[in-house]
């Protein structure tokens, strides 16, 4: 009878060792968080959960020495009240010394011993072993999470009325449920004593946690508000920083199927140290055509070139689902951080047909003049070549929506994750 007894969780099938066999009544499965009744030989499911229990400052199963006694953490509770927020309680067990409690509220630890003798009630205080303990606040404590073993019936959602009576740093806590009243003596315990005894999760070591969130009951709405304000500020700054806005325009006719050609769109002056340059290209009369747009911004002084790429493509057709279109007749290209200077904007462009290019014959008649012949139309081999018109507008300044939404995502990621996390925790 000295070997530990193991039970199988009826919810997830996990095998769980019972550490305080014979005493343990309730077990919170460490795999799925289900709460089990192990008072009887046949393990009964009190409530099934399908989620691993979130981390506690100390993991059940840990052993450590406090007050010269070795204790095993056999159970852990997360409890909550409207007045004090969340705190954690750990049930310590030693078969020769019985049960004790380790309570973590904020960054402060307390060591709890259940009283065998009860304090005598007075109007505003209680007396216990010759000392007077002043009555403090009462609050309703709700059990939020149950993990590990307990010697009484416990479940998530259990509520108890807790009243604290204090004498210096020592607290007598009186907890009442409909069935019983329990008194516990709590004495403060040094952070380092707990860390020396048990492996405490690093994020709980000396961390000034959400201590008694009396005044800022919930800071999540504020976090969302700050994220929104920050995002608007980013947008405003981006808009202001991208100024001044100067533009140049031109129009080109591009022969479909012809080899790519080069033309100058215009000249722009970047007056800030760095600026965006936006080039938008709009075409009206294309269908089942795609136009490659290779831009080069050539600095007049240094002859250094900044290259960018744009693509206009527009297709239509009909299939079993009916007529369809794809692409658009315009393309905007954003060139980030163009240094100060005067730039000539060159286009190297070519238009193509889909699914096939019309075949085109190009003849050079003079050094600067070309004749182009297309044979796409077999009926009329001498028809004029197909041309598409593209209007270009190149401007300094611009707004990077991609950047804007990325920053927005990052700003809202933290409060959003917290909201999701809390919601997860609550159900």
């Amino acid at each position: 009878m000295t070997q530990p007894r193991a039970v199988i969780c009826p919810s997830c099938g996990g095998s769980i060792e019972i550490r305080a066999a014979g005493y343990t009544v309730t077990l919170g499965c460490r795999y799925c968080g289900s709460v089990l009744d192990v008072a009887h030989e046949d393990v009964r499911l009190i409530k099934a959960y399908r989620r691993a229990v979130k981390n506690f400052a100390i993991a059940p199963g840990a052993r450590g020495t406090l007050f010269d006694v070795e204790w095993e953490v056999i159970g852990a509770l997360r409890r909550r009240s409207a007045e004090s927020g969340d705190w954690q309680e750990f049930l310590l067990f030693n078969p020769y010394s019985g049960y004790r409690w380790l309570v973590l509220a904020g960054a402060e630890w307390q060591f709890g011993t259940m009283l065998l003798d009860r304090p005598e009630n007075g109007p505003r205080s209680v007396s216990w072993r010759g000392g007077d303990y002043l009555r403090g606040d009462s609050e309703t404590a709700t059990t939020v999470t149950v993990l590990g073993e307990f010697y009484w019936k416990i479940a998530r959602g259990d509520e108890a009325r807790a009243t604290a009576y204090t004498r210096g740093a020592e607290v007598l806590s009186c907890e009442s449920t409909a069935d019983e009243t329990n008194w516990t003596q709590l004495i403060p315990l040094d952070d380092s004593a707990v860390s020396a005894a048990f492996a405490v999760e690093r994020k709980f070591v000396g961390a000034p946690q959400r201590r008694a969130r009396r005044n800022d009951t919930d800071d999540l709405p504020m976090m969302f508000l700050f994220a929104l304000i920050a995002l608007l500020a980013v947008g405003l700054v981006q808009e202001l920083v991208s100024r001044p806005r100067v533009c140049t325009e031109s129009t080109s006719e591009i022969i479909v199927g012809a080899p790519s050609f080069t033309t100058r769109i215009g000249t722009l002056e970047v007056r800030r140290a760095y600026q965006f340059v936006t080039i938008s290209a709009v075409s009206s009369n294309i269908n089942n055509r795609w136009i490659d747009l290779d831009y080069s911004l050539v600095n007049r002084q240094t002859q250094q070139s900044i290259d960018a790429y744009g693509l206009i493509e527009y297709y239509t057709g009909t299939d079993s689902d009916g007529p369809w279109t794809e692409g658009s007749t315009g393309a905007e290209t954003l060139i980030a951080s163009v240094p100060r200077g005067t730039y000539d904007i060159y286009l190297d462009g070519g238009a193509h047909g889909w699914p096939n290019d019309p075949s085109v014959t190009v003849k050079q008649v003079k050094p600067d003049e070309w004749t182009v012949q297309t044979s796409a139309d077999a009926e009329n081999p001498w028809a004029p070549p197909e041309k598409v018109t593209v209007w270009f507008t190149a401007c300094t300044g611009g707004f990077s929506w991609g950047m804007f939404w990325l920053i927005g995502f990052l700003l809202f990621a933290v409060p959003g994750a917290m909201l999701w996390w809390r919601h997860r925790e609550d159900d």
Partner: protein, 222 residues
Amino acid sequence: MESLTCPSCGAALPVRDPGLPYSTCAYCQTLVRRAEGTVEAVGTVAVLPADVSPIQISTTVNRDGIAATVVGRVRWGWSDGSWNEWFLRAADGRVFWLGEAMGMYMLTCEYPAVLDVPGIRNFAEGNPMARDCTVKAGGKWFTATDIKDAACLGSEGDLPFPTLPGWTMTNVDFRNAAGDALSVQRDAQGTTAWLGAWSDLAGLAPGNLRQIEGWTMPRALA
């Protein structure tokens, strides 16, 4: 002390207290009734469920003038848990119960005087006990805090009643602010009352505790 053998399996049956009528064979779980040097098998006791109690048969306690040795144990189960009651015998023949629950202990000796109190006499006659009923015993006031219907889950050693499956009792625990304890138990044989105090293990000044695997016995208790 004469030595007896189990009528079912033939194993030696140690007699820890010749005054006790029932003994559980440690080998085959047969419940043996002893009378006038004869032994008779009366049934089979359930195997005790595993537990990590530091008490075992032959553990000694010494508190409040009570120096006694554990001779038997019965394990009781109720709807929401279970607990051990260890039966102890002193050298002078006096007997005691040591209740063990929640890692705490209640050491009591029989106190028949309280059975004359009307509330308890009423309970002994088969009526329910009122919660919060107060009685005076041994010069102290007690309040009924805990009323449980319990069934025997198993036993070992020598005991005053048969612990076969189906043996049930109703237990009423009375407490007071000073940590005193009064326990009234009603079963098929009648009603008995036991008066004592709550204690932790160290307060019992125990000897010969069970060595629990994986745990070091505190030096003060070893």
